[in-house]
């Protein structure tokens, strides 16, 4: 599924990711944990192709296809989805217009026909009901005036609607109270599947109580410095990241 080999990324000429290697096989959920400034968000932006995140070495492939050569929208059409740590407000663009445009653009890129308006409306309503997204939220311009929790719910809503193959969740738990965390986690768990993969980036263990990972990796100083099963997250919660200072 996702295959990252010796990835090196610079931001403004400063090396942030310094040779990162990671495999997430289909059907698995991997968590990336690490202290602030370890390069967690840089990894998610480099994989999705944001300007300013310059890949200076290494490879990243999804199902064998080179991601790094593609434009961000092409990566999205290949099934790569990033749930943003800070979802953007897009004033003037109604949420449903935005989503239908995105869905149809992805379908077009994959050589599929456009989804009809009635089919789209049905799909959007069905998904909304599952995630507690109100019709009121869907009528508003995307994320405008939404609370932090609503924005995160809207990210997962978009994720469910676009049905990606590989999902990166960047600090999805930040800004969520415990009830919202449950709703969002249930939404995420519903998207797990044998042909899908997930990378859950988080600073705290709390999210992993709800989204159970198959593997946990520790990112520090731009490299994966430790990997293990779910028990590693619990150990990190107890001991903190101090012991990786030297490893980084």
């Amino acid at each position: 599924m996702l295959n990252i080999n010796n990835l090196q990324v610079e931001v403004g000429g400063t090396p942030i990711i310094k040779g990162l290697t990671l495999q997430v096989p289909a059907g698995e959920v991997h968590a990336i944990m690490g202290p602030n400034g370890a390069g967690k968000s840089t990894l998610s932006y480099a994989l999705t192709g944001r300007d300013g995140y310059e890949v200076v070495g290494g490879t990243a492939t999804l199902n064998g296809e080179d991601l790094l050569a593609l434009a961000p929208e092409e990566r999205a059409a290949k099934g790569l989805f990033l749930s943003f740590q800070y979802p953007l407000e897009i004033p003037g663009v109604p949420t449903l217009t935005f989503l239908r445009t995105a869905l149809n653009a992805q379908r077009k890129a994959r050589g599929e026909g456009e989804i009809s308006v009635p089919d789209f409306m049905k799909l959007s309503r069905d998904v909304a009901k599952r995630l507690g997204v109100t019709p009121e939220m869907m009528k508003r311009p995307l994320n405008v005036g939404f609370s932090g929790g609503e924005k995160k719910r809207m990210e997962i809503y978009q994720m469910a609607l676009l049905d990606p193959r590989f999902m990166i969740l960047d600090e999805t738990d930040s800004g969520l109270d415990i009830d919202a965390l449950k709703v969002v986690s249930e939404g995420v768990n519903a998207l797990r599947g044998p042909d899908k993969g997930m990378l859950v980036i988080t600073h705290y263990q709390r999210l992993l109580d709800h989204i159970k990972p198959d593997r946990v990796h520790v990112l520090a100083g731009g490299r994966i410095v430790d990997s293990g099963g779910p028990e590693l997250a619990l150990a990190l919660e107890a001991d903190g990241y101090d012991r990786y200072k030297d490893a980084a």
Binding site: A71, E73, R75, V93, L99, T101, A102
Partner: protein, 394 residues
Amino acid sequence: MALAELRLLAGEEALLNALPSTEAGQAAKAHLAAAGLPNRRVEAFKWTDVRAALADGIPEADGSAGLIPACLQDALVLDFAAEGFGLEGEKDQGLIIETEDSLELEGGGPLATLAAGFAPRAVVLRVTQSQSRPVVLRRHPGAPMRVRLELEAGSRLTLIDTGLATAGLSTGLLEIDIAEDAELVRYSLQNGGTGAIDLTHTAVTVADRGRYHAIALMFGGKLARAETQVVLAGEGASCLIHGAYLLSGSTHADMTTKVVHAGPNGQTRELFKGAVQDRARGVFQGKILVERAAQKTDARQNHHALMLSEGAEIDAKPELEIYADDVQCAHGNTIGALDDQALFYMRQRGIPEAQAKALLVEAFVTDVFDAIEHEGVRDWFSGLARSWLEASSS
């Protein structure tokens, strides 16, 4: 500058020769001979150099006047062509149309003088009772227009004016008198090719509780300038002036407005939005003058523009001049680029860059059209804006 020192350019000579021998034509000739065409050394024209645009003479007129959209099929259409003035459609009761060969011109500046000079006569529209059908003023390529519009007390009219020349010099002068409790709703569309020079001047006077409500969409031309001067003379008079400019290639569009609050309790709402790309240039000059007598004035002006390319240019000059002490006046002016973060966010969802830009620009300008009450015209303008976005992003 002494008269003897003024050397006219070839284009100015050509204009002198082209002006008719009417009274207004002679007045324009005298003005032109004395001062030349307005150019960048004149403060009000520092970003819109008419002399430079006409330096090589008057471009040959080309293009069509454009079709009347389906939503305005019931309208009365007044055509202003090089051959003269024509009328199409039914005229309702309460609308009187006359022509006037020698109508005096008071002030207005050089563009008004020029437009009056070129027009063989003025068309005078008198609205004595409210009109349910709109009136369209259609300016043909290379044609002059002069219209005097008088709305009598309590009457209402919807006016649409268009100038769509591909090339040529088109001029327009619109003098509007809005009486007590009368209302004019106006929608203007200008779309010119790279050979089109389009110069219009609108002078509006609004009496007690009268209302001037105008929304304009400009795509520019070789040089396009729409001047609007509104005097809110009466008590409780109001105006709403919205404008959008969408410019690409090497086009130029200038929206210059001046609103004078002369009576108390007046209200002004101005909203201008622009998006400029390639080497195009957008100009916004907006002045609001509140005279001492105009207490309780409530005036707001906003101009926001997007630069979509490195080589694009936007020049803005917002001005508030206030002599009354009990007023509410505010203005805002921003010029920026599209939000990179929003663009990346949209692309991450699979929307190609060009389409994402088009969506963002459309969202940015669209509130200018929200004030359009005529649904058909709103769809028409929005559709034109969308076509421009699609064409310019492909």
